[in-house]
Subunit: 98 residues, 7 copies
Amino acid sequence: MSTLAEIQVSVQPLADRVLVEPAQAEEKTAFGIIIPDTAKEKPQRGTVLAVGPGKKDEPLTVKVGDTVLYGKYSGTELTHDGKDVLIMRESDIYAVLG
Amino acid sequence: MSTLAEIQVSVQPLADRVLVEPAQAEEKTAFGIIIPDTAKEKPQRGTVLAVGPGKKDEPLTVKVGDTVLYGKYSGTELTHDGKDVLIMRESDIYAVLG
Amino acid sequence: MSTLAEIQVSVQPLADRVLVEPAQAEEKTAFGIIIPDTAKEKPQRGTVLAVGPGKKDEPLTVKVGDTVLYGKYSGTELTHDGKDVLIMRESDIYAVLG
Amino acid sequence: MSTLAEIQVSVQPLADRVLVEPAQAEEKTAFGIIIPDTAKEKPQRGTVLAVGPGKKDEPLTVKVGDTVLYGKYSGTELTHDGKDVLIMRESDIYAVLG
Amino acid sequence: MSTLAEIQVSVQPLADRVLVEPAQAEEKTAFGIIIPDTAKEKPQRGTVLAVGPGKKDEPLTVKVGDTVLYGKYSGTELTHDGKDVLIMRESDIYAVLG
Amino acid sequence: MSTLAEIQVSVQPLADRVLVEPAQAEEKTAFGIIIPDTAKEKPQRGTVLAVGPGKKDEPLTVKVGDTVLYGKYSGTELTHDGKDVLIMRESDIYAVLG
Amino acid sequence: MSTLAEIQVSVQPLADRVLVEPAQAEEKTAFGIIIPDTAKEKPQRGTVLAVGPGKKDEPLTVKVGDTVLYGKYSGTELTHDGKDVLIMRESDIYAVLG
């Protein structure tokens, strides 16, 4: 998005938060997960970029690199390192795809 | 739904979530469970495809292969491996049919 | 309700849920419990058909065969084995009649 | 209310529920408790007929025979043994009169 | 309020409830507490007549005879022994005056 | 406010409540804290006059004499010893100024 | 903002509160974090100036000097030492930038 050198900055989520990069639309069929076009809330798929340390008694389950399904309206958008990413709570994640 | 080879992908639900494949309408009478046509919320029947590890102190009760009753508006729809499935919390499941 | 052989299917409620068969209207006077016709929510009477294992630290109190009083709008209707039954949480049950 | 022999039936409240028979209007002055006629919610007085076993860590405080004060809109009405009675949670009871 | 002999009746509040007799309007200036006439909720002052045993792990702090400040809309009115009194939860009491 | 001798009365807040005397408007600039004039809720500054004993497992942090910041709509007004004061929960206090 | 000598005053947040100085608009691109202009709630970036001691069992994770992302509507504005700052709960902070 810029030809200028940018200072790389890491994002360390707090507590039970997870940084997720949403999958591109074209990747989706390759994995055999097709999100149906219905009136219900549709889950989204993405890749975990960073995870928080968890809460006191609840370490997180998802790991960096996991492909995850999450709710359509989950998380807060930010642009990190030129990519549109989302920061959300782990409880907003439904499942890990393996 | 496709003659193309698809990469099989497993879905590992998180925490207390359960992946359920809804029963087809024609199977229902065979089991002797008839959902009455009233104004109340009607439970639905399906088969458990995958279960989460449970929460810290609460392992899940349902197992893969269980036939379960759940609320009509429970869960989030997704298409997995060519099938319409639902991902829901175990607390959305009313009972196991045996 | 059908002359066809039907596969009997048991319903195992999960957690703190209870399967209840509502009493017929004509049985009610025989037990001396008359539900008054007022503006307040009226309790209903029924027989427990199956009970869940309870939650982690709270086993259930009601037993199969108990006659119970419950709130008018409690539970979810389903038809089990040709009978209209209700599945509800034990906390929706007010009392056991003895 | 009936000259027919009726089967006596006991009511065993569940958990923290209490069965209360409301006091007759004429009894009230005899005890020196007069419910003022104001816009605030008025407490009612009654006699405890049956008590539940309490919740896991909280046995009930009121006993059968206690005269209790409770909120005007507390509880659910039922007719038991020819009497209009109320079933309510102990937390709906404000005080015991001695 | 009556020249008839009345049976004295004690009121034993349950759990964390407290029986309070509101102070008369004319007493208030004598203690140096003046409730300002603003749009905010005004605390009221009264004397504790009886206290409950407290909840399981939380004995009550106020004692019989304490002068207390409480919220204007706290508690439920009743007439006890010819006096207008209030029954409220201890958490409705802001402070003890010494 | 009165030339009459008044009986001094102490106010002992209950539980996690704190008695605060709001700062006068003219004092505010002297401390370098200027409350901006925006649409957001503005914190207020005051001096702690008395503190409660805290809740069972949570002793209070603020001490008598502390200058504190609190929400604009926090607390309940009363007049104590001729001064307009506020009684609020410690959780309504944002910070101590040192 | 003033040529007058001002008394420096420290702000010690209570419990799980954190004092944050929002980043200036022009600094933002230098760190490679660009907040997209969408309908979703946008996170904000700032520097931690002071932190509370945490709650009883939950010490805080962020430290003075951390660059943090937080929700657009998080916190309460105040002017401290001539700067517009925010006081918020740590749970309003999404991530630490490193």
